[in-house]
């Protein structure tokens, strides 16, 4: 006879509570096992495999792919792959940073509207989600096309030659990616700003705080929960993002997402693709670890 307990008001035996818990959790765990853990392990194994003549996986294990990723090849050392990884990291960092800088005023603006208007603004912020990402990215081709105001302005400032578009390149990638990731930062940040205790801001002011100090001590700590979610939701996908840099960056701005896609597509080198993927995962985990440790210290 199992022990009878009161579980948040419900009288139940420990045994049936356990059974119920297992029934609830099992599908989720199973899903994760089948579609996340096992594929990840397979990917890790594949990253140590080799490439056959026709691009098939050859089960001869070694560190060849990782050596290649680090830049060692038959013809000596090259930093190309590391540069792409580093560029992805930096791009993701700046896209996250710019999204945060843009989101703060936006979040405060929306939170200070009347409740009715708030929903209108939030809807405007969410509308892009309703459109396919490829189509949204294509829209940039039109906006940045040659002989349209933006390109003309850039040509006038002698930033690009006359009659050329503003893509492909880093600028277009940043524009496209920030427009995609801005809501991911702005929405969680808004939910934090909405709950902001303004009395702390007043207290900081009353205690002689400068504007920077007010932000750092009274606003930032209070908005940190939303900000953290926003940063993770932006940084992690941004580091491995594929569609936007592929379309707007082209060959001029190769990021790790495109590199991986190439290995599984045109180059048909799955093993090397798997190795880059592992590198990307480690990079992402490392960044997140760095971020949480830093955030905890603060």
């Amino acid at each position: 006879m199992s022990k009878i307990i009161v579980w948040y008001g419900e009288i139940i035996s420990e045994k049936s509570l356990l059974k119920r818990g297992v029934a609830f959790i099992a599908p989720g765990i199973l899903w994760l096992m089948l579609f996340l853990i096992i594929p990840s392990v397979l990917l890790a194994i594949a990253s140590f495999a080799g490439r056959g003549e026709y691009g098939e996986l050859v089960w001869e294990f070694g560190f060849e792919n990782y050596k290649r990723l680090a830049g060692f090849s038959l013809f000596g050392w090259t930093g190309d792959y590391l540069i792409i990884l580093w560029r992805s990291l930096i791009t993701a960092f700046f896209i996250t940073l710019l999204s945060v800088i843009l989101s703060y005023p936006l979040a405060f603006f929306i939170a200070s509207r009347s409740p009715k208007k708030r929903y209108i603004w939030l809807t405007i912020l969410i509308i892009p989600f309703w459109t396919n990402m490829v189509i949204r990215t294509y829209a940039w081709f039109i906006i940045l096309a040659p002989d349209l105001p933006f390109a003309k302005l850039a040509a006038f400032l002698k930033l690009i030659p006359n009659g050329s578009p503003l893509y492909p390149g880093a600028f277009a990638v940043y524009l496209g990616m920030i427009s995609i990731f801005l809501p991911f930062v702005a929405l969680p940040l808004y939910s934090s700003v909405e709950k902001l205790n303004w009395e702390l801001v007043e207290a900081a002011r009353d205690l002689y705080a400068s504007k920077t100090r007010i932000f750092m001590q009274a606003i930032l700590p209070q908005t940190l929960p939303g900000l953290s979610i926003g940063i993770i939701l932006t940084f992690v996908p941004a580091i491995g993002t594929f569609v936007t840099p592929d379309m707007l960056g082209g060959a001029k701005y190769m990021l790790v997402g495109n590199l991986i896609a190439n290995q599984f597509g045109a180059s048909r080198d799955w093993a090397f693709g798997a190795a880059i993927s592992m590198g990307l995962s480690l990079l992402t985990l490392g960044s997140l670890y760095f971020y949480t440790v830093k955030a905890k210290k603060k």
């Binding site: 007043e202 207290a203 900081a204 002011r205 205690l207 002689y208 700590p221």
Partner: protein, 391 residues
């Protein structure tokens, strides 16, 4: 002389702080030469400014269509404890926020010492506030919370440490330095909020209902502690509260507010003893209000003729007497005596609340007697105990 200690500590801190022998005090620059004994002169100069206290001149404030404050004139004497007392929604908190610099009045001036600070931003005012919910910074520990103001003004670390530690000692908070606000009880949080404001040595300390979150027993204790602290520091304290007991316990002066106006100001005992309106009489303590018509040496009322100590300015008006001022007599008194029947007795431990009929008077007595419902007793409303209201 009252301020010497205070100015001394201020100037000493300036000496440590400012090597150029100039003290900036409320925007006024004073130069001094420590070697020539000019410091004393400086103290006197600043002391003269300090003595003026805080003055509010014709403050008006509207939020939308609501007139929150109407023509407020008020003086908070330097080194005294002033309480703004009134029911919720009377504008007392808005007035406090105007003094703190967290609101700007539509019309009127806030004057500290001899300087108009109406438009001076909060972070420049030598005024600190203790918020109702304390507004402690949750991510900072207690030491950092208390040091916040000093750090913002870039005091040297050693001085910050010394001053914070002193405040920790004064407010019995030693050992809590490294805790976070959420690990403290309500009373402790309140003391941290007090320390955080006081460590800046403000001219005026504002307290926005700081005891509303404490339970009754703790509140009574903290009230006495607050009073002691103010007397020790000799600083100007301005407290906002709706609790009349609290106002009486802590204050030197009370300003009673109602619907955006100040109804009556004065020393605490004066306001209690001589209420000028029905509102003050009933809000500050309990009162029997007796309407009457002036006649001869007193007034004619429903319960009989009452002799007064002096004649009122009105023909038809009201006098007030507090339940504890009514005396119970064995026989019918010759002056202002009334016979009544005990209609209700409420036992309060140290005293009885008795309601008499048909005169409908409430009497408070600590004299032990076995009163029973229906007993007939004699009471005396002595002329010197009858407060004559303004109308």
């Amino acid at each position: 002389m009252l301020y010497n200690k205070e100015i001394y500590s201020f100037a000493r801190q300036c000496e440590n702080f400012n090597r150029r022998n100039t003290v900036v005090f409320r925007g006024l620059k004073f130069s001094y030469n420590a070697a020539n004994g000019q410091i004393k002169k400086l103290y006197n100069k600043i002391g003269n400014i300090l003595k003026n206290g805080l003055t509010l001149e014709g403050i008006n404030k509207k939020f939308g269509e609501t007139e929150t404050l109407k023509h407020i004139w008020l003086k908070a004497k330097a080194g005294k404890f002033l309480t703004l007392l009134g029911p919720s929604g009377c504008g007392k908190t808005t007035l406090l926020r105007i003094i703190a610099g967290l609101e700007i009045p539509d019309i009127g001036k806030v004057i500290l010492g001899n300087q108009d600070i109406t438009m001076m931003p909060a972070e420049k005012r030598e005024i600190n506030i203790v918020f109702q919910n304390y507004a402690l910074f949750p991510h900072l520990n207690i030491f950092e919370n208390i040091a916040f103001g000093l750090k913002a003004r870039k005091f040297p670390k050693a001085i910050i440490k010394k001053r914070v530690e002193k405040k920790l000692e004064v407010l019995a908070l030693q050992g809590f330095e490294n805790r976070r606000p959420h690990q403290l009880s309500g009373g402790q949080k309140q003391r941290v909020a007090l320390a955080r404001a006081l460590v800046n040595e403000p001219e005026v300390l504002l307290l926005d209902e700081p005891m509303s979150a404490l339970d009754a027993r703790l509140r009574a204790k903290v009230q006495v502690e607050l009073r002691r602290l103010q007397q020790k520091l000799q600083k100007t304290f301005i407290l906002v509260t709706h609790d009349q007991d609290e106002a009486l316990v802590v204050s030197d002066h009370i300003a009673v507010m109602k619907e955006g106006r100040i109804i009556q100001t004065g020393a605490a005992s004066e306001v209690y003893d001589n209420p000028k309106t029905e509102f003050v009489a009933e809000f500050l303590g309990a009162a029997n209000l007796i309407k009457g018509e002036a006649s001869g040496e007193g007034i004619k009322t429903e319960i009989g003729f009452l002799k007064l100590k002096k004649m009122p300015a009105w023909i038809n008006g009201t006098v007030a007497i507090r339940p504890e001022w009514i005396k119970i007599r064995e026989t019918m008194p010759s002056i202002n005596g009334i016979k009544g029947k005990v209609a209700e007795i409420i036992y309060r431990g140290s005293e009885f609340d008795i309601r008499l009929q048909p005169c409908n008077l409430r009497v408070k007595t600590s004299a032990y007697r076995n009163f029973k419902q229906g007993d007939e007793i004699f009471i005396e409303l002595a002329p010197e105990e009858l407060a004559i209201l303004d109308e």
